[in-house]
């Protein structure tokens, strides 16, 4: 407990907003998904740090993080299936080219 709680929170905030930048600035659908993972990770760090420093007797933050990791894995698998399907239809995965619902 030698590191102050603010240090952890600042690291996770930087990570979150780098994710926001990547989400808005990239063109490739896969890199957008990666930025999403960065944001989810930052939120996970926040949950665990709050649990550890502010409420050490409880396990709520711990389980929130566990469930978020599970949901993130499911969501990524599905999103990648959709992206590969898009690639099969229009031969690239740039967001500005994906403007038709049906090919």
């Amino acid at each position: 407990m030698n590191v102050p709680i603010e240090a952890y929170l600042i690291v996770s905030t930087i990570m979150f907003f780098v994710g926001v930048y990547g989400f808005l600035a990239r063109r490739n659908l896969l890199t957008i998904l990666m930025s999403l993972e960065l944001m989810l990770n930052a939120v996970n760090i926040n949950f665990t740090v709050f649990n550890r420093y502010l409420f050490p007797g409880q396990l709520d933050g711990f389980f929130f993080t566990l469930f978020i990791i599970g949901i993130a894995a499911a969501e990524t698998a599905l999103a990648i299936a959709i992206i590969i399907n898009i690639y099969r239809n229009i031969q690239n995965i740039f967001v500005d080219k994906v403007n038709n619902l049906k090919h």
Partner: protein, 166 residues
Amino acid sequence: MAEQIIFYILAAVIVVFSILSVTSKRILRSATYLLFVLIATAGLYFMLDYEFLAGVQISVYAGGILVLFVFSILLTSHAGDKEKPRHWGRLLAAALTAVVGFGLCLYIILNNVFKVANQIWQEPTMQQVGQTLMGTDKNQYLLPFEAISILLLACIIGGIMIARKR
């Protein structure tokens, strides 16, 4: 002292590699940088004494999701492909959003007074984790656990339905 040094190394790794990951032109490199960020996050969990969470982070994120990413990158792009950057106005707007949001959050974090608890900490034992996951009392999580299992089943079926050849 050693704890602080390790924390600052992990923090530097996270910050540098997450920035490299969203700015790198080659997508495979950006996936590799993301792997470093995820492993450093597992290191932070180790520092907070959540060994179980760190193990889950490494096995699910670094072992599962990253492999999926690398597979789909290799399926959807050719070697040596570089991503063209977007219009500079778009980049500027994104950077501005990120910087303003970061400033706001930094202001809130530095001005809030956190009531850090002085309780004696002990790491949750495996038995405690299992009982909390499987119980139905207050502060126990059987219902979300079942919901996650249904979600994973739906996800498997959905993945097969979406990705199959017609």
